[in-house]
Amino acid sequence: MREIDVKLITEKVRDLCMKANTDLGEDVLQAFDRAMGEEESPLGVEILKELKENARIAKEEKVPICQDTGFAILFIELGQDVHLVGGNLNEAIQEGVRQGYKDGYLRKSICHPFTRANTGDNTPAIIHTEVVAGDKIKMTVAPKGGGSENMSRVTMLTPSDGIEGIKRFVVQRVKESGSNPCPPTIVGVGIGGNLEQVALLAKKSLLRPLGSKNPDPELDQLESEILTEINHLGIGPQGLGGRTTSLAVHILMMPCHIASFPLAVNIQCHAQRHKETII
C-alpha cells in the first residue's frame, strides 16, 4: 500500500489545467504540417499557418490557445494499492481545477443551465475514475470547448445498419456541423456499449495521439475510409472551403447488447488539448 496526500493531486491538477490550455501537443502541430502539404485552398493554407503561429504565441507567452478554455474533463486511473490521505479525491481534484483556472487566467465557462449564472471558478469538473492495478495514479486533464461539443451526438443504430450505417452517420454529422466546430477537427467515434458508455468511448478516443494507428486493423481501415469521405466534403479549414475538414478519425469499440448498435460522435476542434501526469 502506498500513501499519497491529496494535496499533491490538487497541485498536479492545477498545473495540468494551465499546461493543457497553453501548450498544444507536438502531434497536433505535426498534423497541421501534414495538412498544409495537402491543402488545395490558398485561404485554407493561410488558416493552417495562423493556427501554427497561434500555438507558438500561446506556448511562448503562456497564454490560452483558445479563449474557450473549456469544461475541465479528467480521466483518473487510480491504482488499487494507493491509499489516499489528507482529504477526499473528488474535492482535491475540484480544488485543483479551481486554482488552475484562477492562477492560469483561464476563462470560467461553466454555468447554471436555467439561469446561466456562472459558477465563477470553472467547477464542477467532470471526472471519470477507473480503478487499475498498481500503486500509481495517472491523471489526464482534457479541457473541452463548447462549440465542438455542441456538434456531437449519440444515436442508437439498429444492428442491420452495419458498418455502412456508421459511416453514413459520422460523415453526415461532420457535414451538418460545417464550420461551427472550428475545422480542421478530430472526430472521436464510440461504437458499442450502451448509452452512457458509447459517449465515453468517443471522448476517450480523442486522447490517442494524432498520426498513430488504431491497434485494431479493422478499425484502422474504417478510420481511414471515414476520414477520406469527410475530406471529400469540401468544408475545409474554418469551413471556408478546402481539403482539410478533419485531421483524423479515432474509433474505440466494445461489445454491445444483442438488440443494440450504439454510436457516438464526439467532435473535437483543432485545439486538441490534453496533458497527463503519473504520480
Partner: protein
C-alpha cells in the same frame, strides 16, 4: 491571393458595398464585443424603446468572450465564438445601423436577408486562434454589463485584426461557395 483590404469603423454603405466573399480584411480602430447574454440585453432595451449603451450606427460587433487578461497583458485570448446563437438578435441590430459582425459559422437566412436589405457584412475570424488575435487588441474597456464577466460588452481598439468576408451585401455566402468548390463526389 489579393492583398488584404483595410477598414476603419464606423463603416458607411460605401465601405461595405466594395466587400465580396473571400476578401481578406484588416480592421483597425474601434470595435465592440458582445455574445449570447449581452445580445439578449441589447434586444430587451430595443423592445423597451430604450437607448443602447453605445451608438451602434456603422459599428462592428465581435462575438467573443475573452479569457481574463494576465498582469501586463492588454487583453486575454480572444477568438470568435459560434455565431448562430446570435441569429435571433442580429437582424434587429442590423436594422438599427450595425454594419459588421465578426464570428465563426454559418448565419440564418433571416440574418442574411437583413444584411442584404440594410447593407451589412459578416466576417469570420479564425476560430481557436485566440492567442494570435489577442495581440491585435491595443486597448480594451468595459462599456456595459460588467456583471456578465467574459460576456460583458467591451470597446476594443484593434490594429490589423485579420478577418475574411463570409457574407457580403449581395447575398453570397463563402461557407456555401467554398464547400461547393472543393467538394469531391
Amino acid at each position: 491571393m489579393n492583398e488584404p483590404i483595410r477598414l476603419r469603423p464606423p463603416l458607411t454603405d460605401k465601405d461595405v458595398e466594395k466587400l465580396k466573399i473571400g476578401d481578406r480584411v484588416l480592421i483597425s480602430g474601434v470595435i465592440y464585443t458582445g455574445r449570447d447574454a449581452a445580445h439578449k440585453r441589447l434586444i430587451d432595451l430595443l423592445k423597451g424603446k430604450k437607448d443602447l449603451p453605445f451608438d451602434i450606427k456603422g459599428q462592428i460587433i465581435y462575438f467573443v468572450g475573452p479569457t481574463p487578461a494576465k498582469p501586463g497583458q492588454i487583453f486575454g485570448s480572444a477568438g470568435p465564438t459560434t455565431s448562430y446563437r446570435m441569429d435571433a438578435y442580429s437582424p434587429s441590430l442590423i436594422e438599427r445601423g450595425l454594419k459588421g459582425m465578426i464570428g465563426k459559422g454559418m448565419r440564418s437566412e433571416a440574418v442574411k436577408e437583413a444584411m442584404k436589405k440594410y447593407k451589412a457584412v459578416y466576417f469570420a475570424a479564425t476560430g481557436g486562434a485566440g492567442a494570435l488575435l489577442a495581440k491585435r487588441v491595443k486597448k480594451a474597456e468595459i462599456v456595459a454589463y460588467e456583471d456578465l464577466g467574459p460576456e460583458a460588452i467591451r470597446r476594443l481598439e484593434v490594429e490589423d485584426l485579420p478577418v475574411i468576408v463570409v457574407n457580403d451585401i449581395f447575398g453570397n455566402d463563402l461557407y456555401i461557395e467554398g464547400e461547393k468548390r472543393y467538394r469531391k463526389e
